[in-house]
Amino acid sequence: MSLTTFIFGRLSWALLPQNPIAWFGSLFFLSCALAVPLLITKFHYWKPFWNNWLTSLDPKRIGVMYITVAVLMLVRGGIDALLMRTQQATSVGASQGIVTAEHFQQIFSAHGSIMIFFVAMGMLFGLINLVVPLQIGARDVAFPFLNSVSFWLFAAGAVLINCALVIGDFSTAGWLAYPPLSELAYSPTVGVDYWIWALQISGIGSLLGGINFFVTILKMRCKGMTLMKMPMFSWTVLGATWLTAIAFPILTVTLTLLALDRTFGMHFFTAGGGGNMMMYVNLIWAWGHPEVYILVLPAFGVFSEVVPVFSGKKLAGYTSMVYSVIAIVFLSFLVWLHHFFTMGAGADVNAFFGIMTAVIAIPTGVKIFNWLFTMYKGKIRFATPMLWFMGFVVLFTLGGVAGVVMSEPVADYQLHNGLFLVAHFHTMIVSGVLFGYFAGLTYWFPKIFGFSLDEKLGRRAFWLWLFGFILAFGPLYILGLMGATRRIDHYSATLGYQPWFIIAACGAVLIAFGFITQLQQLYVSIKNRHALRDKTGDPWNGRTLEWTIPSPAPFYNFSVEPEVHSRDAFWASKLHNKADVAIRQTSAVAEAVEAEDIVLPRNAWQGLFIGGFAFLFGFGFVWHLWWLVLVGLIGAVTCLLTRVFTDDEKLERVIPAEEVARIEESYRHGHASYSTA
């Protein structure tokens, strides 16, 4: 090995972007990356940024950071989507569209990977961080430092996957990188390595986050909150983190084995050497199918909170909801083979997995009916979160039925690898997962920031998303039935696909406007934050513990520890006290009971640095910069050791009772704002 190869590995100037669109992507990413530190310097915000954000162990802060990264990644994935829609609408007959076939393959691979791993997972863990401790009456998560490490690993993966815009190329092997295409023989560039290491690093973050919240929910619930008194959102998160803890180790192994094949010439999935590529497909879907339920269960949970509150009724069939979550957790491990019925596993195997796939629709159906029964004879308020639910329930049911159609192996042989499938899973992920998270973000926003989001713009965004979605994905169902396969970069004009693709492109533009409207909504709401201020801490007439405390939630969450005796504990208190004052920690109770000393973890810089070193580690592996791999490894371990060798007492701080009383007092007089919370 020459010295140059040792220092620079596979890096070379020739690998900088080669065409205008790639240049644009590269510059866009670099300017975003540069803008953040410049803006912070301009506004002299470094110190609060360091103390309140980068080193914070407060799950509410970490949650906001998760969602910020996820929204940025949604911009990236969304631009990819617009490029794909433009390409497929224009690349017909003599026209070759706007990008080359090779570039198109990179775009769809990046789009899928980013949307699942960095948008959906980011919003998921963001919401979990924001809501779960508040909802179970806890002041913190089980392992606050681990939570910070999880986030920074996620962020490191997000940066790494975007590095492909600047130097080298991205994988062309689709979002799950099936071998043998993803093996070195057929993908010799760094693209697949970027994919592997970005997912590996963020995936380990997700695994640690999953363990953390699984333990948090099982061990940190406030007194009196038995599992069957736990709010539904927390139940679905319990299910999702349970699945995370079981499924993500399989992903870790699968990615490692692919990396060993590519980097060290092993033969797990290669075409030669005795490798077995179908084993990869089995392994990746043994993780991948539970992953779908990891994403969607908490969205179900959001709706299980939103529908009762905005219908003014308790959730119908709580017990059946709980058991359907558990049923989904188990069944989601018994359906993975339906992703490759065409592999030729034989009629009996296909029949088993086909039946299991149809069966998993039953617990989901139970949920749909329960939400509808909750609404029945309720006093429904059509606020934005409820609108997201209404859009969800129609589209998700239709998309679910399309899924049951494909659960028939016979039908699947026709529909496999076609646009019908693409339309189906986008219905599940967009109108299921994303609409759910949007509803949740709107619903819990005032609790985190102390003011509500603008309703008018929220509604407008919803309608744009809804119609945009129908226009963008309705045509794909039809195209799928016409025989259009997924991932085509060019087709003949005689096939008659083009009109449908043009409609789909229009839908994508509408969705883009929906997203822009959401940004506008955020901007307008921040501007009008005084008018939109949540003075009561309970803007929606809520039922669960998070609404008993003031908004924005103070950093210690609960000044006194709640003890619950029923489901919907806050609602029960409201009924009991009749008057609207209910049990409000800021008012009657806090005055009657003396505030107590609260022990919370101190800030930690190590999480940020571990994320940084993990990035170097991944980047080193992608480019074969072995010295950088070593730097990343040693750096991360050193960060951990500094933490291990710090005395326990120095990791914690005590907020004296007087300080708590003073903060609660400032809430009573309406002086508290997000910066003090």
Partner: protein
Amino acid sequence: MDTNTTTREHEPLTIHHTSIAEQDLKKDQTTFFGFWIYLMTDLLLFASLFAVYGVLRANTFGGPSGADIFSAPFVLTETLILLTSSFTMGLTMMAARANRKPLVLAALAATGLLGLSFVSLELSEFIKLIAAGHGPQQSAFLSAYFTLVGTHGLHVMIGLAWLLALGISIGVRGLTRPNMRKLLLFSMFWHFLDLVWIFLFTLVYLWGIL
């Protein structure tokens, strides 16, 4: 709905107070439970590797099979060393409960030395195989073998680094409450590696030799 009755379903919120001692106890219990969950995820990681090995073990692609390269006395020696280290780890915990710091350090050192000799034996076996041309690149079977056994070896090495850090911490600060907690976590980790090795011994070596 009747709002006047205070049946169990409509009982209002009350206030609870947890003492510092209770909080500390709860924190320890949470840590142990969390570590158990982590160990289960690690076990699933090994389970996936075992499954991969099971699929690929016959794919020797013209290279040697397990029967050709495994030596029963050698693996038995490795196994006995690791089992003994589990025993000394048990002694460490007993000494820690009896609050005898020198004994704790001695038993911990014995555990570390046994672990080190286990890793050395494993590495020497790997080096011998690679030198004979039977590296992980030769066939799918060897890829799976090296990865499965190597992952276990890597865990042992991480355990050894942890053991060293823990030994220093106990040497400097004594058997404090945090150190006792960390010692118990380490002991769980060490026994876990032993358990995984039993499966490795059976499913890789015995099945390969027989």
